[in-house]
């Protein structure tokens, strides 16, 4: 009603939120402050504190928690990997400059600009050197190694989710309206059962005297039960199982919007199925894939419950170490310091991706 009395001018100037805007945003802002800003602030303060002998937080200012995470060896390792990355980049750039035709060749063969091609190779080299050095380190409390393991496990799970999830999402997105709703329902049904119960159910399947081993022995594929449960494989299976819907749903969203005439046009213009898929379908569903990767990868890095249940608490991931600090070890300050580091790493990764996306 009130709208009738507004002038056109007022509507133009609504780029900034007015009273009404703030009012609409209030629930979200309250939520953000209460559950994101405040806890992060507490965590930040705790990370500089100490614990007393029964585990209460003592408010002092010291850097011990951060010193425990960053053992001095890391400095040298980081330097080495930067040097390795730099060497690769320098070598490639020099080579590209010397032979201009290579730049064009790279673009044609890989679709990458020579800049991102060099960047990618240099980053890979740096990563490999760093990984090698970190894993060889034997000092106690090698948290960088755990971080590497967590990122790799999450990365592998994400890749498997894309490989399994993409065809499923594509199939659902292209199905008839009626079938589509039913299929979506099937994706959602597992959510009706608690996540932990579903994870525990995998124990029944994977254990030595479990369903899978029983089936394989019955089929005479194996004679001794395979050690499946309490292995990294079990953790990856559990992670893929838990996060797969978060990959399927956003990709489905993109596929559903995909304009079929564009795909047909590609075929008409002589593209084979592979070319049509890689040059038309994938780029057009890219937002869904990116969203799916974020939705799977980010929670999977910090995940700890699946590793506890299916991994036997043996090989800690970064989430397990933090969880342990808050419960078993009663060392909230150290847990907070680890949390802050993880948060910073995510923030850096996020801004780097954001800048990259903006450039694109």
């Amino acid at each position: 009603m009130a709208l009738e009395y507004r002038t056109a001018n007022e509507f133009v100037a609504t780029n900034r939120p007015g009273k009404r805007g703030w009012l609409l945003m209030a629930p979200l802002l309250t939520w953000l402050i209460a559950f994101v800003v405040a806890p992060t602030a507490i965590m930040f303060v705790y990370s500089f504190c100490d614990r007393d002998d029964i585990g209460q937080v003592v408010f002092t200012f010291n850097l011990e928690n951060y010193k425990r995470i960053f053992v001095p060896e890391y400095g040298w390792i980081i330097l080495q990997s930067l040097m390795a990355g730099g060497a690769v980049a320098g070598f490639l750039l020099f080579g590209l400059k010397a032979d201009g035709s290579l730049t064009a060749a790279i673009r044609e063969k890989t679709g990458f600009g020579s800049g991102s091609f060099v960047g990618l190779l240099a980053a890979t080299a740096g990563y490999l050197v760093m990984r090698e050095r970190v894993f060889a380190l034997t000092t106690g409390g090698n948290f960088l190694k755990i971080l590497f393991k967590s990122v790799e496990l999450a990365g592998l799970s994400t890749i498997i989710c894309v490989i399994i999830g993409y065809p499923v999402a594509y199939f659902i997105g292209r199905a008839s309206d009626n079938a589509r709703n039913k299929l979506l329902m099937l994706i959602m049904i597992p959510f009706w059962t608690n996540f932990l119960i579903r994870t525990y159910a995998w124990i029944t399947i994977l254990k030595a005297e479990g369903l899978l081993n029983g089936l394989l022995i019955y089929a005479k594929v194996i004679s001794e039960p395979l050690p499946l449960l309490y292995t990294p494989t079990a953790v990856i299976i559990g992670t893929v199982y838990a996060y797969l819907p978060f990959m399927i749903l956003p990709i489905y969203g993109s596929v559903e919007k995909l304009d079929n005439s564009l795909v047909e046009a590609a075929f008409d213009l002589g593209a084979g199925p592979v070319r049509a898929f890689s040059n038309i379908i994938v780029p057009l569903t890219r937002p869904g894939i990116v969203a799916g990767i974020l939705l799977v990868f980010v929670p999977a890095v910090g995940m700890f419950a699946i590793n506890d249940v299916l991994g036997g608490k043996r090989d800690p991931l970064i989430g397990n170490v933090i969880d342990q600090q808050f419960k078993q070890a009663r060392n909230m300050p150290f847990g907070s310091a680890l949390g802050i580091i993880l948060l910073l790493l995510f923030a850096i990764a996020f801004f780097l991706t954001l800048r990259k996306e903006e450039k694109n």
Partner: protein
């Protein structure tokens, strides 16, 4: 479709939140106890008789319990710490004294469980159950004669061993095997423990304090070091699971019920303690969780098989020792185990 589902879920949540009944606050008891330790039957029986609703929350280590209690996030009326944790909690003045006038069944406890080092006059706690930490072996799979810790942690058993997920226990096993006094935990002792513990931890397949019997039962591991009650349950199901108290010495634990200082329902907590001290109730606990029952009257009600279970009531005179509070050193123990797990 999806939007409808989301709306449905949202309205369901909102509905639940709105209709959550305002409980009669004085008819409640917030029990915070070990997992796999308090039978549902006992809780139901108590509620039926007194009308007091029991909110039962579980933990898997004394440390976890302390963390949650100290965080003040929840108001617990009854906790179930082990002897060394009681010691620390009394020192830090975290427990409320018991009102013995409300505990008429206290007389049922066997005398050896009424004058314990951590609370000699039973001012703060009443023994729930006692037990030991020992070796369980699946004798179908392991033919060796296992006598102590060193027999368990052999390279040939790599990937076949289960252990409690408890830093102090892990360190104690190494200390016992080296003949170090288990309550003298200091920097020097830990430095001596470290290399052996690192070797042992590489051999362990699963850590589980909640229900270590599960992995043994499922056949994923064949031997390990667990709570005696878990071993007793395995033995009840299948005699192939043998329980052995390590020859080098073992930890005996005594878990008790105690009331935290700020508990909102102290009367209900007393009522619950008195209820579980009844012989017939205590017998129910033993039936489901066959640890060592401290209730002399209840023991008379147990069957000969139950009393003959070597895990519940060990024969002979094994070398057993209680834990004492080690104060600040517990942080060092946690740090050692965290770092070893991370560096693996």
């Amino acid at each position: 479709m999806i939007r409808k589902l989301c709306l449905g879920v949202l309205s369901l949540v909102a509905g639940l939140a709105l209709t959550a009944p305002a409980h009669a606050a004085d008819k409640e008891l917030n029990l915070f106890a070990w997992s796999e330790y308090v039978p549902q039957k006992v809780i139901d029986g108590f509620t039926k008789e007194t009308g007091i609703k029991v909110n039962y929350e579980t933990y898997a280590s004394n440390e976890e319990m302390l963390t949650k209690l100290l965080s003040g996030a929840a108001q617990y009326d009854l906790v179930q710490p082990s002897e060394y944790t009681i010691e620390a909690m009394i020192k830090k003045d975290l427990l409320a004294p018991l009102d013995k006038a409300k505990l008429s069944n206290l007389k049922n406890l066997a005398p050896e469980f009424t004058k314990l080092g951590h609370d000699p006059e039973m001012k703060y706690c009443v023994t729930w159950m006692a037990g030991t930490v020992g070796i369980v072996v699946n004798t179908d799979k392991v033919k060796d004669d296992i006598k102590g810790y060193k027999d368990v942690f052999q390279p040939k058993f790599a990937g076949k061993i289960i252990a409690l997920d408890d830093s102090r226990e892990l360190v104690t096993w190494v200390m016992n095997s080296k003949g170090l006094p288990i309550n003298d935990v200091n920097e020097k002792a830990l430095a001596e423990v470290k290399p052996t513990l690192a070797e042992w931890m590489k051999l362990i397949k699963v850590y589980d304090s909640d229900s270590p019997k599960t992995a043994l039962e499922n056949g994923d591991v064949t031997l390990g070091i667990v709570w005696s009650g878990e071993a007793a349950k395995l033995y009840q199901k299948d005699k192939k699971f043998k329980y052995i108290l390590p020859a080098e010495g073992a930890h005996m634990f005594i878990d008790s019920l105690a009331i935290p200082k700020g508990a909102p329902h102290k009367d209900n907590a007393h009522a619950f303690i008195n209820y579980i001290l009844r012989p017939e109730v205590s017998k129910l606990i033993s039936e489901e969780f066959p640890y060592t029952n401290p209730n002399a009257e209840a023991r008379k009600l147990l069957s000969p098989e139950e009393l003959a279970n070597p895990a519940s009531y060990p024969a002979g005179t094994p070398k057993l020792e209680l834990f004492h509070d080690i104060g600040k050193a517990s942080a060092e123990v946690d740090k050692l185990v965290t770092d070893l797990k991370s560096g693996q």
